[in-house]
Amino acid sequence: MIDSIYGAIALGLLYALMALGVYMTFRILNFPDLTVDGSFATGGGIAAVMITHGYHPALATLAAFAGGILAGMCTGLLHTKGKVNGLLAGILMMIALHSINLRIMGKPNVSIVNVDTLISPIVKPVGLFILVAGIGVLIVKLLLDVFLHTDTGLALRATGDNERMIRSFGANTDRTKILGVSLSNGLVAVSGALIAQQGGFADVTMGVGMIVIGLASVIIGEAIFGARSVFFATLAVVLGSIIYRIVVALALRVELLKASDLKLVTALIVIVALVVPYVRRVLKQRSVARKRSAELLSTAMPGKGGRS
């Protein structure tokens, strides 16, 4: 039980980079980018192939980052210059990447068992793994925070917030969108590369459903920890990714569920996380409106049922 939770925390940290990528597109750019399912496997594939060819795993992970950036750039160009609908641009790239990933890997599954990877020196004990991975993710998170407070980062955030406004202050919003989607997919691909190294293989289907998992992490994190500033929002995303993995680990221990039910459970988590805050907001607004109306009525008509 405890072991499976530690394992979940470790996995959550590796997937947190992917969740940060999804946070960048969904929340900051307000652009639902579905490239993620493809670029996650691209990252895993590039890393696995390079490691089997004897390259240093750090170099392989860096190459995965570059591959993800390239994939994101294509989606960004399709959307901004080709004026393709954002969802469609992502889906097109996701499909295209499936073939590209097979070309990169040469076969659907590349094994990297019994080879040195970035993960292998720290894989045991799990405490060490969590510590090292935690520090690594924290550094990426802080770098992202700093970036989002630079002049370029501010323009990127404003592009998702009020595109018209930031254009009137001279930012090229096509460029900020491409930059954001590229960086996002770079992070996703690094996450894929790390997951491949942790699992000992890259599979062409390893990215399926990633976008929903990333979204689940973002939403869970925001719901529990809040997102009052960029610093807390990215922290919430990392913690959301860990909590998601813990929830999954616990769900899998329930007798009724099979491992194949994982995607259904994920979808349900996202649905609950999306619907519950909405219902709560509506109910709250209604009660506030009633209360304020009653107050206004009682002040407007003193002596007519009002408490004065």
Partner: protein
């Protein structure tokens, strides 16, 4: 300063809904001009602004700023010269970002954006001074998100953001129309002060006839995509609202029709 030469713009060309938004418009804006623009619905006032700011590009004609033809330059590049305040108080600021972050972005108008930290201490000091000039207490709320401000406060901030970097041209597109009278008056007063102090060349579209006469040194009247009257300072100072409406009817042959018009 800024010249519009034979600028023409059609909407939905070649379709049954074809509409002449602006036809053969010529306008010569001199440095320091503060021009108010009035006209009926669909007269082409917003099109005029959009051609200058680059939101729209003219089908025929030129837009020239300080000797450079800019009609095919994209909007974000023209921002170097042009400051804008929109009608919608929500349009000029980024709601999920703080006041100081919004000002930082405005500070970088027309300059390259790199990887330097945005809201530095030196810039925050400058922003605090600038915010205290508009006198509504925003200087003490610099790390508040702009989405928490009222419409009037947001519009005052938009006005400051559009002007404090001294744009060559300031475009105000009915920027008080969505506010209640008291707040509209505050923004009008601020506009007057800022334009005068910084000697900004300004083009202001308004529905308020009295305001159109009271503010600025030149008044332009538009109708059906044409600039039909250009009143210079000497005549404008003695003009009344009824004279203005009479003049409009005489030239255009119909009444100034506008569901939102305010006579003042």
């Amino acid at each position: 300063m800024l010249n519009l030469i034979n600028a023409t713009k059609l909407f939905n060309p070649g379709t049954p809904d074809e509409k002449i938004a602006l036809i053969n418009a010529n306008l010569n804006i001199k440095p320091g001009d503060f021009i108010t623009v009035i006209g009926s619905n669909g007269a082409g006032k917003s099109t005029l602004m959009n051609l200058i700011s680059g939101v729209l590009k003219p089908d025929i004609g030129q837009v020239v700023v300080e000797g450079t033809e800019i009609q095919s330059m994209p909007e974000h590049k023209r921002s170097r010269w042009i400051g804008r305040v929109f009608q919608d108080p929500m349009a000029g600021t980024a709601p999920t970002m703080t006041i100081e972050e919004n000002l930082t972005m405005a500070y970088k108008r027309g300059k390259p954006r790199g990887l330097a930290w945005g809201a530095t201490a030196a810039k925050r000091k400058l922003f605090r001074e600038q915010l205290s000039r508009i006198g509504i207490g925003l200087e003490d709320r610099m790390s508040a998100k702009v989405g928490l401000l009222s419409g009037g406060e947001r519009q005052a901030l938009s006005l400051l953001m559009a002007t404090f970097t001294r744009p060559q041209i300031l475009l105000l597109d009915e920027h008080t129309a969505a506010l209640d009278p008291a707040r509209a008056e505050l923004i009008t007063r601020l506009t007057q002060e800022i334009v005068r102090e910084m000697n900004l060349t300004t083009l202001m579209v308004t529905h308020n006839m009295e305001q159109a006469i009271r503010l600025g040194n030149r008044l332009i009247m538009m109708d059906q995509g044409r600039i039909i009257l250009d009143i210079p300072e000497e005549r404008k100072s003695s003009l009344t609202v009824s004279q203005l409406l009479g003049e409009f009817e005489r030239i255009s042959g119909h009444q100034l029709s506008d569901d939102r018009i305010v006579l003042g």
